[in-house]
Symmetry: D2
Subunit: 448 residues, 4 copies
């Protein structure tokens, strides 16, 4: 059976991920993501009503025109987890394919919202829920399996397409986490089995986000311990404390909620995304928050909630808000500008439980947000965080477990691939033979 | 009573700390340290037999000639903890003063070794042990108190000289750690009392090592959790694992020893300093290691021990060795060069449970050490570590607790002071009035 | 005679410079500048109609309330050159003092525009023109002298107040440039004389912008040679070339204009500031541009000019525009956004004859501007530039020439001072005695 | 005719360059270089007497065993210029091939010295001199041409192999310099012709050293102007001045010699490499130095020369010495350690007319050398230099001139290639199709 990989998007950038695997006549598509930075660089662009081709021209969504070169039928669209760079183009592209969208429960819940928010296209693909550990048939001879992985959002899986020529493992995005705070540990046992059963692994497509960083990405348990250290150190503070993190990072939000309780404060989730992601997690039963945990997304209810905080005393609350990257219209930035009912006062603490995404525009906005907070007297605790992506030792462990015949680095540009290429070369792979450095819009024929 | 501070060493550098406080006719000296980098830049310098004046000219030990300007008698020499930059000049300078050396048990044990190693001068000052929480009289009207603090070595205290004009708190070196793994948490309660009792705090001398870094220095418990994550992730590895850390960092060594046991390996401490610091800690009962924990310092016994490791199988051991900064003659670097019986092989893990001290010579050596290890196939896990020094939020907490009338930044150069000066200014201090940026060899008259 | 220095603004930042020197009953004020970044961090602030006190609270203009502590009369307000951080607060503060504004011709021309633009206060101080090399009496016993210096704007001088106790030299802003392209070389000869005549130099206030940088700031002739190299290398390009630089940098604009001619292109100056600064320079005869050199500031005339460029062929023109820091509303950024009649096309060259001011917000904007240009196919030539401020070897030369009794670092924050303090210490100065590290709002009594 | 490229060395590093081009049965080898850093990381390795295979195992010289896969005869070995990373393995590898070494006069002179110094192998290949602009036949149907280029050493050429399928242009190492101080400008005219004549360019192999840097590498004329600025600024200094640069950088040495004369000092070249490279340049008539210019390499004659300098007064001389990277045994480092007759005294100037090669070991050594010099009072002028390698706009110009069908980035590792890949992609090349990112030991079949 001939096997071909189309590297559609996310091979020259982080964002707008999309990869197709053709096994004989059957095609599976992994991810349909959005590159948000390509949207934000323009003033006043509203993507909801834009046409796919315009978004492709902007570099915002994958250029899936290469799909017409693949001779076969798409049997499934498989988003690996609920981050926008993996599901954000579903509203624009999925309707072109007569295939179900297959995802883990939490991811599927977010895909559902994505489709609802879409204003241009009607997306009526079937939505099929599949859990980690489960499989489904793809055509007559292939099988799709979800392996549980650990990432900075719950419900992340690595899909595996079992073909007669061996398994194709789509390895975006994960870290090797044995103590992930919410959900199950990464299923390394299953990866090792896949590497050794039948014909083993034909091809492994890998998340190179942190491939230039030495060592091991720490577990979420380490971030939790660090966060506990920070928040417990504030136990005696009788003024305001505000925390911000990735809204989709349910494990982190859960830790914030629990440590708020430890130090005698009522947590409240504020901001549209906070409400969206935590609401979805609770709805599907992936996490249990305290019964009375407030989540507010609309401006009015947010303001009302903050007025209550001011009335009852800031020392009794922990607002958990959006704005960890200094996004100009997010809650925390607006707090910094004095545009909300919450007054930042001298000595108030602001916890950034997030890293700064290393891109100059972003760094500038984050800096500005911190400056505005500081000008009002806030004390900044930053980088209380660990990444959700493998560093080099995780890559090393994955290669050891899977022993793939072919390797394709993804989820970065050439500079980002460089550390991975060195590592793979040291494990015996050869560039251009079984180590495929490629770019958007290419196809790689693995078996002819 | 007139109070005067002499800033003798460590006010233009990290290293060779020495400060004297005169209260009326009584003088207390805090620290007598060594700046090792000023020794190492020269080839083949042996400090043991050198004269004090030559070492002063090299910038290696404090220039204590300014002491002759202070009219009074030295009543005590008080090293705050056992690091070389705080006790390393005692062998060269203490004999000039007719005063006892007063220190916590672990520090005193290390001072004793320092004095024994000294080859030029006979140091026969009395050695007086004093625990955190205890006090001793200084002259008729003053009192010396030790407050327990947490640092990257056990037995660290902040000495406080209570005078009729208020307390002088010597704040080098510490972090605010409530869960320090070994020993007691920092005694913030006592600092708050000192800040509020009697005339409060006249002067606070502060450790500015990390004063340019935002946020809070994590607790040792966070480093321990991170180390656990790293070591447990190696549980299935059946080859060699080697770890290195600061030999004096007893809490870290203890964690390494315990996690070695968790993953079924026998820990062994190797290298002269490893034997020295851990041996001293065990001798005074500050830490309990497993009965059979091997500690070897001399070349021959180290080699014999590594031969045993090679014979019985590397997969059964965790050598904990010196060399975390890539020091050319340390154990780990010699392992990298293949100069020991231990073979580094493809896939072997090396854990650096230490940060890189940011100085180009040092960075070059550390890089070279890693390169040598990598050339043999080693996998590097670096920076499994937290600093022992306060960042900005710790400084903020200390100012809040002590509310000192005067503040003197120390343990850095001007660039290192800059973050502290900004912070102190934001707390209402004024440069040149109650915030004293100074340099080596000055005196500051606080009360006339 | 008692001599006192008030360090009013620009001692904790670059921006809002202001220093007063009192000699007996006579006071001279040096500079009244604006810190533009403190304005821009807020949305939609219009400074023209704002009150001084609000701008002081924002940190945008110097807090001159300390002037009431100085017992004496202001005899002159002396802006040293025409940059906003030195003259931008004149409209808000000068009317409070019954004293003439004394400046070199070009600086005075720009002060005049500053006063005209002021919308809140009527500023009717006398405007007195004084050239480098000239002097004026200040009270009975002092004399003000202007020494010619070289900076990134023409007409820069260092004012010297000769007092019976020695000279006070106000050393902001300059580099040691013996071949400055426009204007005369720095008058090092006169500085050496001042250092040796009479009582020598009592006090030197120094520009520390680049005091942490090793070596020597190159001459403008070096930037010119580099610019020539860049522009001549484009001789064969038959598409668009656009250049941007500091509008006030007349020497650089002149070089751009001349090299445009070398490669057969007609230069045009575009943008409000381009018109303002170059117009002023031509008006006072400081520079001669080709007769037909177009300068357009108003939106309509700019657009008309660019339409002409597009009609007659981009290959015949060199637009020299504002926007070197990526300012969101400047010409070049608007070109990048496609908001002007000028089309950036594949292969077009954009020359940034300017460094990036190292501040995250600014770096973010500059990056975004370059991205927008690149997305249209532009090729970026950046950093064709040398700084206008002394590096360490220039400071060394100035201390050698002046041999001042007292030194006060300025035009930076504490971190920025650190390199200067090291250097001054190595020349024999002592912190707190004759080397005065201070902050905004302090006074230093030099002679009592 | 089938055309194949073997990428033997220098495709994963800077150093040990070697590439073979097979056109039918004829093979031409470009460069045989040494990676010195792989030698220096070991203690006490002497390469002169080492065997090739050991050096290959160390990664020090190219692993040319892939040559046995190429079916054809080597007709010429063509070193492009005289730097060690291009000629340093000739002594170890050339004797294996029955082919002449063809090089420009200066390069050939240095090859001759390389062969003489070789202690293990007898290298008796014919040495054939060929100038830029000349050609020689390779087999029946191909022709080798040398195109003049500009680099940081004189005599650099880009060899072009004209084949029936188009030209293969080997583009290492160069910058686009129209005013190179010594020698002719780069022959861009000829490159444009080659790009357009016959079948055009089949393949271009490019030097990616600076491919991640924006803009244009300045001409040597810019470095010369900057050096003039630095040295003329020292005209009044009556103490010592010492300069260091790359010994092989004849243009820079010439500028140093001339500016020494401008400021009334006698230049002397000191150090083994200084004597070697300048001597060779003079011998072949590539440069004319003043008749009495001293060049001393041997320890004794160097010491004698420095004694003369000390006797006749440092203010009359400019020693131009080795040691620009802080190499531990080079002249300048020994001066810093006080191991030569030359006393560095307070205020003496040291000019580093060289950049720091960005590798941690190297940065550490350079830092240490500067520290030693500073400890004796030296003032450091660093980075008076421009690189010899193309930045992005040079690459853009070369692609424009040559319009090659295939492009192969070289002279870097994957991270270094990344900027070039982006640039080539923006010019329409596709990774894996006509843009070949490869590594050491691969072959690329261009025409079958």
């Amino acid at each position: 059976m001939d096997i071909e990989i189309a590297t559609i998007g996310g091979y020259e950038e982080v964002g707008r991920q999309m990869t197709a695997v053709r096994a004989g006549d059957d095609i599976v598509v992994f991810d349909m993501g959005l590159n948000l930075s390509k949207v934000l660089i323009h003033d006043n662009v509203q993507t909801e009503r834009m046409h796919s081709l315009d978004l492709i021209d902007m570099g915002a969504i994958p250029d899936d025109r290469v799909m017409s070169d693949l001779e076969g039928d798409v049997k499934a669209i498989v988003p690996t987890h609920g981050h926008l760079d993996h599901i954000g183009a579903i509203g624009k592209l999925a309707h072109r394919y007569d295939a179900p969208i297959v995802a883990s429960p939490y991811t599927l819940e977010l895909v559902r919202e994505e489709i609802n928010d879409e204003g241009k296209f009607a997306v009526d693909n079937d939505l099929v829920e599949m859990d980690a550990g489960e499989t489904m048939a793809i055509g007559d001879r292939c099988e799709l399996e979800f392996v549980n992985v650990t990432h900075s959002v719950i419900g992340a899986i690595n899909p595996v397409l079992h073909t007669p020529e061996g398994a194709v493992v789509y390895g975006l995005d994960k870290r090797v986490d044995h103590t992930p705070v919410v959900g199950d540990p990464i299923d390394m046992q299953r990866f090792r089995e896949i590497g050794r059963e039948g014909d083993g692994v034909l091809c492994y497509i890998e998340d190179c986000t942190n491939a230039n960083r030495k060592g091991r990405t720490p577990s979420e348990a380490v971030a939790r311990r660090q966060l506990k250290d920070v928040m417990h150190s504030m136990e005696d503070w009788d003024g305001g404390i505000v925390a911000t993190t990735f809204a989709s990072h349910i494990a982190r939000v859960k830790s914030l909620v629990e440590f708020a309780d430890d130090i005698g404060r009522e947590p409240i989730l504020l901001g549209r995304s906070m409400e969206k992601y935590s609401g979805a997690a609770e709805r599907i039963g992936a996490v249990t928050f305290p019964d009375n945990l407030g989540m507010f997304g609309h401006r009015k209810s947010v303001d009302r909630s903050l007025e209550r905080v001011m009335n009852e005393g800031k020392e009794n609350f922990l607002p958990i808000v959006t704005g960890h990257q200094g996004e100009p219209r997010a809650m925390l930035t607006r707090m910094g500008r004095g545009e909300t009912p919450y007054d930042i006062e001298d000595g108030d603490k602001v916890i950034f439980s997030a890293g700064v995404i290393p891109e100059p525009t972003n760094e500038g906005q984050r800096y500005q947000s911190e400056q505005l907070l500081r000008m009002q007297g806030a004390r900044i605790y930053d980088d209380v965080h660990v990444s959700g992506h493998l560093r080099q030792e995780g890559h090393y462990q994955m290669l050891d477990a899977l022993q793939p015949q072919h390797v394709i680095p993804a989820h970065q540009d050439m500079e980002g691939f460089s550390g991975y290429v060195s590592l793979a070369k040291s494990r015996g792979y050869t560039l251009g033979r079984d180590l495929h450095v490629t770019s958007n819009g290419n196809t790689i024929q693995l078996v002819e």
